[in-house]
Amino acid sequence: MHINPPKVFEFTVSNQTYAVTMSIILQWIIMAVIIVLVLLLTRNLGKIPSKRQTVIEMIVNMFNNLVVENLGESFKKRFVPFIGTLGIFIAFMNLTGVIGFAPSTRDINVTATLAIISAIVINGTSIARNGLGRYLHSYLQPFALMLPMNIIEKFTVPLSLCLRLFINMLVGVVFMELIYMALGYFAFIIPILPSFFFDVFVALIQTYVFVMLTIVFTKTSVEE
């Protein structure tokens, strides 16, 4: 039983050793796959959509609606690319469990990075929309004594985002390994159902939750 992702190779830069784990290799592969898919799928788009184009338009429309319904029309141009990239990347990372690799999101370093990116976007949008003065003033809302609570809240938001995704994926990985361990040589057909639940259902729900919470937190921080 290994909870940490396996190390593939490591390199040393000025006496500091950096380990490249399986989760990073998987992310590189996923990035390459996404880039190739985007290049292949967006070739010769036309006025009359083909089957391929209909599917792409459905995905783009889904993210468009998600942003417009929750944040409003003015966020569409800046926010849809970020939310779409985040959603597709996390979905691909979560779904690698289907083809037999443990999802890289079960590594807390990956989810922590994603959560920090989200936190920067959440606070950056608030500063860009309201100006630095009003952003700093929001720390004193509803009254000045709440300052420590507001500062703590800025750290708990990315922490909970990171832990939620990490724990959900880790629990899936641990459960599946336990099921395979318990079944031993009889591990056929029976693991399909839990595998479908953990690797597909939970993975997609958690992707949705991560993207949705980023949107909701952005909304509250902009409105404050």
């Binding site: 039983m1 909870i3 909970s160 832990l163 939620r164 724990i167 959900n168 880790l170 629990v171 641990v174 729900i205 958690q206 949705y208 939750v209 949705m212 919470l213 909701v216």
Partner: protein, 75 residues
């Protein structure tokens, strides 16, 4: 004394924390059904709010589960 028995006991007690999350998700689901029955046209809004609430509620029980898993496999 062999500590594995005590570790297993501690893991079992820690996993009791998932009770709270289960009750919470049950209440959320029940209320969502009530809300959809009252206003079927608001179904999509209610569903997305429900999934977000479930995510908040679920993670507390998962914290308990992770304590239990850490006790078994890491300690």
């Amino acid at each position: 004394m062999d500590p594995i028995g005590l570790i297993a006991l501690g893991a079992g007690i820690a996993a009791l924390g998932v009770l709270g999350g289960g009750i919470g998700i049950g209440i959320i689901g029940g209320k969502a059904v009530e809300a959809i029955a009252r206003q079927p046209e608001a179904k999509s809004d209610i569903m997305s709010t429900m999934i977000i609430s479930i995510a908040f509620s679920e993670v507390t029980s998962l914290y308990a589960l992770i304590v239990s898993i850490l006790l078994i496999f890491v300690v």
